[in-house]
Every structure is written in structure tokens, then in C-alpha cells.
């Protein structure tokens, strides 16, 4: 029997035993739709998290003192550095590494900030104007810091919105004079939103010039240097150049760690992908159940069609053809079920996007094809045994239903 005729024969059987076919379609469709929806939820969560952490961008490198051999993990907050990274180092980097667009040195500490009688303990960040641009922070009011010389302390500062609310309590923020410990500074801008950085809430922070912070915390070393890679440059190459330059500056000792957020993110990525895989597997179980249903229905179908099997054999169909017809029918049904299930799943996702626009629901391709593949594989595997049994029936016994 030709391939087209085999397909035609099975198709006739599928379309003319409507109820039976509908049952299988439903089961497989549900299974595939479940995988599609579940993995899309997982993928949506993954993308949501990645997007939350994507503030650093792909073109950003972060350098901190100390060697950290483990890659991909979060950098240690208190690196026991052999040698500090200094502002001079940053200046040299800016001159020597052409792939660097700009660098924001970072000094971090906490201090009491006071205005008139009120005082509040907040995070104090010493950095340069580049910080706001590299981190893509937005200002609710005012302007960014303007520092002529990065090595000179400036009186300008930026504050977060929480700090503004708590400390100034409605008084004009721009131009207000604040005291940070015994240092005085003037507010030139207010940050918008939270602008999460390394798990800190920038809304409750104060940003001032790096030199001022160094003096404030009495340190020469930098906590971090955030560097933006110039467009068209490979971050990995630039990273290597940065390390080379610093190594040269530090008497041939490579005592800094430079991470690209990619490495950082890939850790999250791995975890969340594993999670998606997990929920996908749970959906896969429903496919297995569908497979068992296929087996049952094929068994019933073989029972009901025993006479037909006998007839086909009497007409000259051999065992292999009988088995092929039954398996093909199950596989054909599975394919249809998989297609319908995928469509249903995708439709549900469209609905989900309407309801929750902030989460980017998307089916990973592997899940879509995996679910389809498993469905069709189930159809094949689970129909094989009953179909083989059908094919082994003796023609006469089958005809007489004995």
C-alpha cells in the first residue's frame, strides 16, 4: 500500500470515528497546551527577573579589587584586596583602553545625613556623573552631578526620593544644603524611582562626588568601578585589556576581578531555566497520561476493528501493513493533537499577555517542539504494542472475531 493511501486510510478512520478521535485529540491537546503554558510561565518569570537585573546592560563591565576565581557568582561584597583600585587607575584606564566609553568609580558607605534638625542614616555613594548615565538612572528633578575634576571633591549631591520625602518633608529639595557627617553638600537633583543597584535601594541614598566620599570614609580605594564598553567593541576583549592595564599598573600583579553582567546573569538564567524545565516536565506528565489513553483507545479500537483486520488480511494485507496502519493512525492523531494543543496554549498566552502585560510570556522553542515531539513519540510508542498484537491476529480468527 502506498504511503499516500496509508495516510488516506488512516485519515478516513480518524475523521469517521469522531468521538474516539476527539477523545485522543483532547487528551494530547491538553497535554501539549499544559507544557506550552507552564513553560511559558517559567520563561516569563525568567525574562521578568532578567529584565529586572538587566539594569547594567550587556555593554557594562564591573571591576572590583581582589581576585575571585569563581566565575559567574556574585562578587564578594567585602573583597580583601591586595591593593586598592584608585582613581588614578581609573584615569589611566580611560586613557589607555579605547573600548571604554566611560567609567564610574564607586565608593560605598553609610552615613547620617541631616537637614536642619532632622537626620537619617542612608547609603552614601561616591561616584562620578557617569554613574547616572551608565546605570541609565532617571532624574525626577534637577540635573546630574557636574564634576570638573574627578579627583576633586565637589559640593554637589543627588538624593533618592525616599530620602527626599523623609528628610526634607516637603521643603524644596533642589539647592537644599545637607550635612553628611561633617561634610556639607548641596542637592542638585533627585533620582526617580528605586533604581536598584547591587540589591540596594537607591531611593534611600545619597550620591556625591567620589573624592568627597573618599574623604568622608577616609579611604583611597574604590569599592567598584562600573565601566561602559563603547559600541562596536567586544566586552570580553575590553575586559581583558582592562585587566592587562591594571596588572601593569599594579606591578605585574593581577589583583582585580572584572565581571561582565552576562556572567552574573547567566547564573540566574541557569536557575530559572532549570525551573522552566521542571514545570515543563510536570506538563510532560500529562502527555504521558495522554499516551496511556492512546494505548487504551488503540486496544479498544483493535478490539472493535478485529473484523476489519481480518478482512484486510484476507484481502492480502500482511502483518507489517496492519501494524503500520494502526501506528500511523495514532501518530497522525498525536500530530493533530499536538498542533491543536500548541495553538490552544499560544492562544492562552496571548490572553495572559493581555492580562499581565509586564510579564513577557513566551514559549521557549525547545518546549514547543519538545512537547510536540513527546506527544508524537507517545502516540508511536503506546500504539506499537496494541498494533503489533492486532497484526498478529490470524486472518480467520479475526474475521470470525474468535
Amino acid at each position: 500500500m502506498g504511503e499516500r493511501d496509508s495516510l488516506l486510510f488512516c485519515w478516513q478512520s480518524i475523521t469517521r470515528y469522531r468521538f474516539r478521535s476527539a477523545m485522543i485529540l483532547l487528551a494530547i491537546g491538553f497535554g501539549v497546551a499544559a507544557v506550552v503554558v507552564l513553560t511559558a510561565l517559567g520563561e516569563g518569570a525568567r525574562r521578568y527577573v532578567l529584565q529586572e537585573f538587566a539594569f547594567l546592560g550587556k555593554d557594562v563591565l564591573v571591576m572590583f579589587p581582589g581576585r575571585n576565581e569563581t566565575t559567574g557568582g556574585l562578587p564578594p561584597v567585602t573583597g580583601a584586596a591586595a591593593r586598592d583600585i584608585t582613581l588614578a587607575d581609573v584615569a589611566v584606564l580611560g586613557r589607555r583602553v579605547s573600548g571604554l566609553q566611560q567609567s564610574a568609580p564607586l565608593v560605598l558607605g553609610s552615613a547620617a545625613v541631616s537637614f536642619q534638625q532632622r537626620s537619617r542614616e542612608v547609603i552614601v555613594l561616591g561616584t562620578s556623573a557617569a554613574f547616572v548615565t551608565v546605570r541609565k538612572l532617571k532624574l525626577a528633578r534637577g540635573r546630574n552631578l557636574q564634576l570638573e575634576d574627578i579627583e576633586r571633591a565637589s559640593v554637589e549631591c543627588l538624593i533618592g526620593q525616599t530620602l527626599e520625602r523623609e528628610l526634607l518633608q516637603g521643603e524644596a529639595a533642589l539647592g537644599a544644603l545637607l550635612r553628611v557627617a561633617d561634610y556639607r553638600c548641596r542637592v542638585v537633583g533627585v533620582l526617580q524611582g528605586r533604581g536598584d543597584a547591587f540589591g540596594m535601594d537607591l531611593g534611600d541614598s545619597l550620591i556625591l562626588s567620589v573624592a568627597a566620599a573618599q574623604r568622608l570614609f577616609n579611604t583611597a580605594g574604590l569599592f567598584r568601578v562600573i565601566m561602559q564598553v563603547r559600541e562596536g567593541y567586544d566586552p570580553e576583549q575590553v575586559k581583558q585589556q582592562v585587566i592587562d592595564v591594571i596588572t601593569a599598573l599594579h606591578q605585574g600583579e593581577n589583583d582585580v576581578t572584572v565581571v561582565s553582567p552576562d556572567a552574573l546573569l547567566s547564573t540566574f538564567d541557569d536557575i530559572l531555566t532549570a525551573m522552566t524545565l521542571g514545570v515543563g516536565a510536570i506538563g510532560g506528565i500529562s502527555l504521558l497520561v495522554a499516551g496511556i489513553l492512546i494505548m487504551n483507545i488503540t486496544v479498544i479500537s483493535v478490539g472493535q476493528r478485529t473484523e476489519e483486520i481480518g478482512l484486510l488480511k484476507a484481502l492480502g494485507a500482511d502483518d507489517r501493513l496492519i501494524r503500520k496502519l494502526f501506528v500511523l493512525e495514532a501518530v497522525l492523531l498525536s500530530v493533530c493533537g499536538a498542533v491543536l494543543g500548541s495553538l490552544a496554549g499560544l492562544l492562552l498566552l496571548l490572553l495572559g499577555r493581555q492580562l499581565l502585560p509586564q510579564v513577557d510570556f513566551a514559549v521557549p522553542l525547545w518546549a514547543l517542539f519538545g512537547a510536540g515531539g513527546v506527544a508524537v513519540g507517545c502516540g508511536f510508542l503506546f500504539s506499537w504494542v496494541p498494533a503489533t498484537r492486532a497484526s498478529k491476529l490470524l486472518p480467520l480468527n479475526a474475521l470470525q472475531r474468535r
Binding site: 502506498g2 493511501d5 478516513q12 469517521r16 484486510l312 488480511k313 484476507a314 484481502l315 492480502g316 500482511d318
Partner: protein, 234 residues
């Protein structure tokens, strides 16, 4: 064409064994027209199924065109069936979900004949059997006589060498019965070897060679008197 040598078939019914075929020796030449008669349970259908390669004997030999069929495996027997043998079953055995035309074309489909050729041949056969206007009907929408004709059309569409009919008129009124008989006799005149199992004495006596079976044995094997003129052409 066919030679059976000491063929035996025994069925076990619980404790009791039934000798459905008992030391059968039979020669059939190509183009012969045989009828098989005998009481119920005498083994007629068993003989027919044996000849049609649907069943295997317990012992004995069955030579089909000189080929020892007992040595063939199921796949080879299936191929022989498709090449040489057409069946008309007493119970029709039409596929309920397929239309009359699809049922008739089923053997051609199994043999891999292309669709256009199938259509051409089924049209021809249906016209010959007078069911050309029933092609798209399902079996349950057809009368008994029409179903039998569909079954007959299916049996002959591949031009088998051997046509085996088990009580082809058993379910028909005398009118449709006579029509079906006329048809298969026409086929026999075209060269098909025809073997008809029947309880109908009138039908059985039309055959050129008449076998009678009792308890699994062929007890009578005689040729019709060619001298009887009115039974020669219905």
C-alpha cells in the same frame, strides 16, 4: 491449479475434538465451476477458508499452482491472497465507515494501485454489477442484495484466479440471489475458477462439478450432466 492431499483440520471444542476436514483429497483445474454442499457443520466453510489461505491445516498438503502453501509464512500467504484469491463472505464483511466505492477499491488500495486507476476500475465493476449509483453510500445505507454486490465487486476487482464464495445468496431474496449467481457465473465463463459453498440445492446443481461434504469428508464428487438443457443458461 489446486491440489489437496490428505488434508486434515481438527478443532478442539472444550474436551471434544471436531474433525472439520478429514483426509481431504481434491484436485481443481483452472476455470472449473464447483459447488460444495452438505449439512451444517460438515466443514464446507473450513474447506473454503483452507483454499483461501485463511487457515492452516493440521496435516496434509495444499499445492496452489504447484506451490506448497503449507510451507509459506504469513507474509507470503498474504501476498498469495492478494495476487490470486477473491472472497465473497457470507457475512459480507464490508468496512462500515467506508463508502461502497471505497470498500470496492480497498483491495486495489492495498495492492498499491494509484487512485485514478482505482476509480476507473471500480466504476467499471460497479456498472457491471448495477450499483454504479450507490458508490458514495455507506454499507448500512444499502440493501442486503446491494451489499452482496459490493462484496462481490470487491472480490473481483483485482481479477483473481480463484473466486471463493461462501453462501453468496444466503441472505438474499430469490430475485437478487439469481442476479448475483448470474454475475459470478459470467465471471467463471471469463475464466475465473469458481467455488461456491451453498445450502441451496438449485444453486448447487448449476455448478459443473458438485461436491458433497459430510462430517469433514467429501462423500460425493460428480459432474453435472451436460445433457440437461434448461439448466445450462438459467
Amino acid at each position: 491449479m489446486i491440489e489437496l492431499v490428505e488434508l486434515n483440520k481438527t478443532f478442539m471444542l472444550g474436551e471434544q475434538s471436531v474433525h472439520a476436514l478429514d483426509q481431504i483429497n481434491l484436485r481443481i483445474d483452472a476455470g472449473e465451476y464447483l459447488s460444495v454442499m452438505g449439512p451444517s457443520g460438515s466443514g464446507k466453510s473450513t474447506l473454503l477458508n483452507m483454499l483461501g489461505l485463511l487457515d492452516r491445516p493440521d496435516s496434509g498438503r495444499y499445492l496452489l499452482n504447484g506451490l506448497e502453501t503449507t510451507a509459506l509464512d504469513e507474509t507470503e500467504r498474504a501476498r498469495k491472497r492478494s495476487e490470486m484469491i477473491g472472497f465473497v463472505f457470507q457475512a459480507y464483511h464490508l468496512v462500515a465507515r467506508l463508502s461502497a466505492r471505497e470498500n470496492i477499491e480497498l483491495p486495489l488500495m492495498l495492492s498499491g494501485v494509484p487512485g485514478a486507476e482505482r476509480r476507473r476500475r471500480s466504476k467499471q465493476v460497479m456498472e457491471r454489477l448495477g450499483i454504479a449509483d450507490r458508490g458514495h453510500h455507506l454499507p448500512r445505507q444499502l440493501s442486503g442484495g446491494q451489499r452482496q454486490r459490493v462484496a462481490l465487486a470487491r472480490a473481483i476487482i483485482r481479477h483473481p484466479l480463484l473466486l471463493l464464495a461462501d453462501e453468496p445468496t444466503g441472505n438474499l431474496d430469490s430475485q437478487s440471489g439469481a442476479e448475483v449467481v448470474t454475475l459470478i457465473e459470467e465471471l467463471n465463463r471469463d475464466g475465473i475458477t469458481l467455488l461456491v459453498v451453498t445450502h441451496d440445492l438449485a444453486l448447487g446443481q448449476r455448478a459443473a462439478r458438485q461436491l458433497k461434504m459430510v462430517d469433514g469428508r467429501i462423500v460425493e464428487d460428480r459432474c453435472r450432466q451436460p445433457a440437461v438443457p434448461e439448466s445450462a443458461h438459467g
